[in-house]
């Protein structure tokens, strides 16, 4: 899945994030490289979402650096975006477009073409058969989440940053998603995932980082 | 005949009025027909799909 001469690597160097009055974390340093799954843990409000948004380049950290292949992601911008796939609390799909249209437009903006047929196949794989050409606003919570996750199956990005991807999914879908993530990592990709659910994220190549300490 | 269409100098106005009225009252049923046909086709397709699923 990840061609490229050197192994991909993401370095976090003395990162510090502040929201409102509170310093969520500071002097946070770690590195993730190809083939690793990073499971980010922490109680509610410990700063997981904040960290992930910083990793995606959406949020400017207070201090510290995030480096992709040795270069600051702020400097790389579009170059880094080519290798990144971020899924946040929002699904990032348009309610007025069908699942197929959503998937294809996302692919084109990500810089590669996805033909209609492949899109249908991927949606079927993720359990949306029969719902492919409904405007997604008519889907249930879990179905919408699946449309968003379908991008994982289509995408060629190296770094997956997933914020609570398992919410709203039923048991079958959780299983499927776990498999997809493990396959991505086995292929040499990077996955950074938060989840409160004690799902089997624990594999041979899983690292866990725990943020925050229960305060008061 | 030409005099009839001339309408004593009011031709543009009289025919403009009657013309638009006629146009609207003819167009409306035609548009409606299109709408009716498209829903009929859709229902027929739904029935066909259902049959295929059952088989």
């Amino acid at each position: 899945m990840t061609p490229g001469s050197t192994s991909p690597s993401l370095q976090i160097d003395r990162l510090c994030c502040v929201r409102g009055d509170r310093t969520l974390f500071h002097d946070l340093s770690f590195a993730v490289s190809g083939g690793e799954l990073l499971h980010l843990k922490g109680h509610n409000g410990s700063g997981k979402t904040t960290l992930l948004r910083a990793l995606a380049g959406l949020l400017l950290p207070e201090s510290g650096e995030i480096r992709w292949q040795g270069e600051n992601i702020r400097a790389l911008r579009e170059e880094y975006a080519r290798h990144l796939l971020y899924l946040g609390h929002h699904n990032g799909i348009k309610g007025d477009l069908t699942a197929v249209e959503n998937l294809r437009i996302a692919a084109i903006l990500d810089g590669y073409a996805l033909d209609e047929e492949t899109a249908w196949r991927i949606l079927a794989e993720i359990g949306l058969r029969g719902h492919e050409d409904l405007p997604t606003k008519h889907l249930s919570q879990g179905q919408k989440r699946r449309v968003a996750l379908a991008r994982l199956l289509a995408n060629r990005a190296t770094v997956w940053v997933l914020d609570e991807p398992f919410t709203a999914l039923d048991v079958a879908a959780v299983q499927l998603l776990q498999d997809v993530i493990h396959r991505h990592v086995a292929d040499g990709g990077i996955a950074i995932v938060t989840t409160h659910q004690e799902v089997a994220m624990i594999g041979a190549n899983t690292r866990t980082i725990e943020l925050g300490r229960r305060d008061a | 005949m030409a005099e009839f269409f001339h309408m004593g100098g009011y031709g543009l106005y009289v025919w403009g009025s009657f013309g638009i009225t006629a146009l609207c009252m003819i167009a409306e049923p035609l548009l409606l027909r299109g709408r009716s046909q498209s829903i009929r086709k859709r229902i027929a397709r739904m029935a066909r799909v259902e049959q295929e699923v059952q088989q």
Binding site: - | M7, G9, Y10, T21, I43, A47
Partner: protein, 249 residues
């Protein structure tokens, strides 16, 4: 009494009304064609030339019926909406929905023909006369109703929301009408008044009546045809629709 009530509710079911609507629609269409043909003939060949406005006055034969229909249809829609809210019958809302485009069309025709009349009579396409202004507002009310319907995806929610809008609108219509009247007459310097030319010739009156009845029949025919389409659109999953066997048509 109770048996009549049951009968009534039976016809308020879309499934039973669907075939009935077709019969009404066809019959009204025939009547409309005949009446409008007669009306047109009388408009151009029987009614005499007006001594003051010349041939131009013939516009009256479409203008006035269209104006009347546009106002009347709104009231009918509001009545259906009220019925739908009270008895919770689906058909009532569908009737209101089916009437709206026709009403809006007549409001538009009224404005258009009025303008085409105003230009030769007053030398301008438009004046801010009370009646004209309230006809314009009526068109806005129609458009608002249709836009609201179009904006709501769930048809049942659309039914109830647009019924509320119609009822609010109908309460406001008289207020709007009189306020506009007052606005216009209290104002100094309003130039021209739209006045029905003295006494109307009897043939003119009869012609106008025939045209009005023709428009009326036309409205019924179109509304019934449209309500059939609306029923199909909304009940497309119901078993009785599938049993209609629409595959061929």
């Amino acid at each position: 009494m109770s048996s009549r009530l049951i009968n009534w509710f039976k016809f308020s079911s879309p499934a039973t009304f669907y075939p009935l609507a077709r019969k009404i629609s066809v019959a009204s269409a025939v009547i409309a064609v005949v009446l409008i043909a007669v009306g047109l003939y009388m408009s151009f060949f029987v009614a005499p030339t007006d001594y003051k406005q010349g041939e131009g006055y013939r516009i009256i034969f479409v203008h006035v019926p269209a104006s009347w229909m546009s106002m009347f249809i709104y009231l009918v829609m509001a009545a259906w909406a009220a019925m739908g809210l009270v008895f919770n019958t689906r058909l009532s809302a569908m009737m209101a929905q089916a009437l709206a485009p026709t009403g809006a069309m007549f409001a538009f025709i009224s404005l258009w023909t009025g303008s085409f009349w105003g230009k030769p009579m007053w030398g301008t396409w438009w004046v801010w006369d009370a009646r004209i202004t309230s006809e314009l507002i009526l068109l806005f009310l129609y458009l608002g109703y249709m836009a609201l319907r179009a904006a709501i995806d769930d048809p049942r929610r659309g039914d109830r929301a647009s019924a509320i809008l119609l009822l609010v609108g109908v309460v406001n219509i008289p207020i709007i009408y009189y306020s506009v009247q007052w606005w216009n007459t209290l104002h100094q310097g309003s130039t021209i008044k739209m006045n029905a030319e003295t006494t109307m010739d009897e043939t003119m009156l009869i012609t106008m009546l025939i045209m009005t009845l023709g428009f009326w029949a036309y409205s019924i025919a179109v509304a019934m045809a449209r309500v059939r389409t609306v029923i199909l659109e909304r009940e497309r999953t119901a078993s009785w629709v599938r049993e209609l066997g629409l595959a061929g048509s």
